[in-house]
Amino acid sequence: MDTFLGALVEGILHGGIYALLALGLVVIYKSSHVFNIAHGEIMMFLAYFMVFLVSSQDLPIGLSFLLVIAVGAGVGLACERIFLRPLIGKPMLITFMVALVMGILIRSIAILWHGGAPQTIALFPSGYIRVGDLSFSSTLVWSFVIALAMFLLFMLVFRYSKVGLGMRCVAEDHQTSQSLGIDVKKVFALSWAIGGSMAAIGGVLLGSLTIVDSDTLGLFALVRALPVLLLGGLESVPGALVGGLIIGVTEILASTYIDPHIHGFRELLPFILIVAVLMITPHGLFGLKRIERV
């Protein structure tokens, strides 16, 4: 029973972080209809940047975290301005492909800059937090808290601020928003900036949970974000949270109970979930079913 409860709580803790990973993708997809599959690689790049600030420049952790978030927004803006702005109005598969290749470009830059050697970030003091018989690594708990806080902050901004209203309007319809006087391009840029800073937070949190590695971190993040997104629905912010929790719990439960029997099952599970979700509920739990009219 303890194993089960432990796995359940750990799954929820992971799920919160996965939800944050997916949120960055949702924000960009909602406004600009670009599926930013390079999100994972951007995260990896920014996690390396964090390592650079902390270990090479000897900046305090808090300050460098803030700096990385700012740089993340800049990276998001740059990606939008250089690669995606010329493609406004092009078919979605083209933008998808651009994002995919952009991810590889970002990875190659990260490798050139840092040599691709695995690094670690110590964001939080290491140790364990005990609740009754269960104990969880404090990094995990703190990451969960930060991820959830960022998630709630974004939801509040999205719902109650004027900027959020503009973003929701653009998500609904580009042309209408334009004629209502909303600068659609500015909203695109803004959503990429928000997506970039989400990538920064997610990258640093993931980097402190696992290791910062040019080969694995980006993929790890993307692979967790994809089933979360598909399950929650591509356009849905609350869907990302619900999907994140479900996927997180499923993953930890499966790795606790199945991994001893089938070695390495945990790495495979997200992909099985992707295919399963696509086959069973393709538009997710909270996604929009778009009906095409002639």
Partner: protein, 358 residues
Amino acid sequence: MLPSGVLTTNYESDMAIVRTKTQWLLLAVGIGLLFSVSLFASNYWLTWLTRVAIYVVAILGLHILTGLCGQFSIGHMAFLGVGAYVVAVLTSQLGLSGWLCLPLSGLAAGVVGLFFGLPCFRLKGFYLAISTLAANFIIVWLMEHFQWQNAEGLTVGGSVGLTVPRLTLAGIDLNSKSAFYCVAIAVMLAATFFAKNLQRTRTGRAFVAIRDNELAAQISGMGLFRYKMLAFFIGCFYAGVAGWLWAYSIRSVNPLQFGLDDSIWLVGMLIIGGMGSTTGAFFGALSFSLLEEFIDRIRPVLEDAFPSMALQLNVALSLGVFSIVILIFLIKEPRGLYHLWEKFKLYYRLYPYAYMRE
């Protein structure tokens, strides 16, 4: 636009792919030259050309799937891997004849492709791309985790991979570079012939209709699901055949050869070459392989110039250059080299009456 003086007088000549006597002659000479290369080219370039032929076969499959039918696959290298593994397992473990494995590897890859194409029942566009992306990882994971002891007690499969026995035909060893090059070219020509003709059949026209407008195609009475699955099957069949060539050209297979990056490069080659034309597949494979060759030549120079970054350059240079080239094509010329070639042909056929282009 046709060259001046070529007139269409009946239906057959309108449908013909090779239109004039000059074209027939050029085609025959071209094919003859392709085969005769095996007589004088060095082993290095024969290997290179064989690789190009394999890419062409794989990209032709992708061209049918993406270029004609509009369904994306970014797991194509893994489907190719399925074909390669089928050959490796069947010939080295069960002792089947290599030639029997040619259709078998195509079929196996096709069936696996069908499975991952299933989501296209209700979805389109990039959802499908994500499904094939997952397919790539699932297939590579399976390759990495299945290992067993063979008759001699050696561990095969897993991350070690398998070795492929020699290919023979009626007692002739086809293992030398030049002989296998001829096999690869023959397969490539057959694949091209089939792909080129598929475009002109009812099925091919249905694919194009689905690509251009799914709704209109469905209203016209085409079974979307059926045709999409067929496109998946044919595309992955091609990948499987390319995998057969791959297995025999390298003589050993392991999971590392079929990563996601390679799948992305295959789609990149299709984009560089130009979607929706068989010629584009040739342009794509050739220009990409030339680029690969160029990077291999320039890498030592750069490593000498920046010795402190030698290790990074080794990995990052090809990733960076390929991705930049593909991005430039996607943003500036998404119709690829084939479109440029068409524009050039139009230009010299109309020269000096450029205004005839309207």
